[in-house]
């Protein structure tokens, strides 16, 4: 296996740069409003992608995002300076998503279908150059444990160790979930007969 090149050149844009996020978190703990704004701006898009599902309306997804941020705000004292930020953020986000899923199931079983209200699924009004809806649905078809691993690894660029921390799991288990997810995606991407 060839050596990996230095990661500094290959990190995603400044949005998810760990040292920058860590510094912002410390300032956030010190009640710096600019730090709060920076964090919201940088992390909201990836959090929204993580929290969303094709089965949810846009308003529901955004409600989840707000809840996630409120939980982050309430839990900000539990972030330890120097520790990686993304595992901490995603641990909170995945519990928000899980609670949101449970609540959505309860609502669905009691109320009229969301489509009847004309509240569009989140991807219907996104202008993606590719068929984002198909990609989104493929990912959402995976078991939750595999979906979240793929999103954390690929969208947020987290390392295996960081994903293990965010999911309260081990590196071996994360590798296994990722491998199973990729196998499942390979099967889904295979063209059908005829």
């Amino acid at each position: 296996m060839p050596e990996e090149p230095p990661t500094e050149d290959l990190l995603p844009d400044d949005g998810l740069n760990e040292p920058a996020l860590g510094e912002m978190m410390v300032r956030y703990q010190h009640a710096d409003p600019a730090a709060a704004e920076d964090l919201v701006r940088r992390l909201s898009p990836v959090l929204l992608r993580f929290l969303a599902s094709p089965n949810y309306s846009q308003s529901y997804c955004e409600d989840l995002l707000q809840q996630c941020w409120l939980r982050i705000h309430k839990a900000r004292h539990s972030y330890r300076p120097g520790a990686p930020v993304l595992p901490w953020i995603y641990a909170i986000a995945r519990h928000t998503r899980l609670d949101g899923y449970r609540r959505h199931r309860r609502i669905q079983s009691r109320e009229i279908s969301i489509e009847e209200h004309g509240d569009l699924p989140i991807w219907d009004n996104q202008a993606a150059a590719i068929s984002g809806q198909d990609l989104f649905r493929l990912l959402d078809a995976l078991p939750e444990s595999q979906r979240e691993v793929v999103l954390m690894l690929k969208v947020s660029g987290m390392s295996l160790e960081e994903v293990a921390r965010a999911t309260a799991s081990t590196v071996g288990a994360v590798k296994q979930k990722a491998h199973r997810a990729y196998e499942a995606l390979r099967r889904m991407l295979r063209p059908g007969p005829g």
Binding site: M1, P2, E4, T7, D9, L10, L11, Q29, H30, A31, E37, V40, R41, S44, P45, L48, R49, Q58, C61, E62, L65, Q66, Q67, W69, L70, R71, H73, K74, A75, R76, H77, S78, R80, P81, P84, I89, Y90, I92, H95, R103, I122, Q126, A128, I130, L135, V150, L153, K154, V155, G157, L160, A164, R165, A168, K175, H179, Y182, L185, R186, L189
Partner: protein, 267 residues
């Protein structure tokens, strides 16, 4: 390079950047359509813009955060938290034993006393470490709280059964119920104290934090009973003494479940 190695590369920071792949990986992609399709799919997902929150939503979120923004002190380190849990355990134990006495210690064999101390001490340490990690989201946990609780209960039961003779001199229920009552009376204030410490963190799974808190408070009761109860028989210990720990753990789990169902937990 095979497909599994490509999977590992697909998940790495290197691949995340969309940069040039190493030659073995490029060679594999040229020959493997399955991996080529997967790699293109994953990169498309990367390059596609993430959903943008509605205009104004970020501003509303920011405004809500800033409204209640005040300085906070980070939680102490894990070692301090673990030390605190074990310190409170020791203080509670000393306090209760000061009232109830340590009659059983005088009739136990030395090996039994050491074994009981080692078993309970190790369980308290592991439960304290687990709780300290559950207080910080994204903490590294080698073992899930659920697995640890089950493992500790099994090890405690089997360890205590092996240390003491398998005898039953009668009056199993008559001797057992007072132990259970005394034990449960100890667990309630212990659990309250431990929970006051736990809630200073940011617990994401209140059921398992509750169960771990119940376990820790049950261990206080177990230690008290082992040092005070004169019935040194395995069936009695396994059922009534360890039963207190199991009951306390289960009560903690239910307490956490109730907390989660409250709307305020999720806001």
């Amino acid at each position: 390079m095979n497909c599994k190695q490509m999977d590992e590369l697909a998940g790495s920071r290197f691949a995340h950047s969309g940069g040039a792949l190493p030659e073995p990986a490029q060679h594999h992609l040229r020959g493997c359509k399955r991996c080529r399709d997967l790699y293109e799919f994953l990169n498309q997902e990367l390059l596609s813009p993430p959903p943008e929150p509605l205009r104004g939503l970020e501003e509303r979120i920011r405004a809500r955060l800033v409204d209640s923004l005040e300085p906070v002190s980070p939680l102490p380190s894990s070692r301090v938290l673990v030390g605190a849990f074990m310190g409170v355990f020791s203080l509670l134990l000393l306090l209760v034993l000061g009232i109830m006495g340590v009659r059983a210690l005088h009739v136990m064999k030395q090996s039994q006393a050491v074994g009981v101390g080692a078993l309970i001490g190790a369980a308290v340490l592991l439960a304290s470490v687990s709780l300290s990690r559950q207080m910080v989201p994204g903490s590294y946990q080698k073992m899930s709280p659920k697995t640890l609780i089950v493992l500790l209960l099994v090890l405690l039961t089997s360890g205590l059964v092996l240390l003491f003779p398998w005898e039953n001199t009668g009056m199993f229920v008559k001797h057992g119920v007072p132990c259970l009552s005394r034990g449960l009376m100890v667990t309630v204030p212990a659990a309250a104290l431990f929970w006051l410490m736990v809630r200073r963190g940011a617990v994401l799974a209140p059921e398992w934090a509750g169960a771990s808190t119940g376990l820790l408070s049950g261990l206080v009761a177990l230690a008290v009973l082992q040092l005070n109860c004169m019935v040194l028989e395995s069936p009695h210990i396994a059922f009534w003494h360890v039963g207190v720990v199991i009951a306390s753990t289960a009560a903690g789990f239910l307490f956490g479940r109730i907390l989660r169902s409250r709307a305020s937990w999720n806001s």
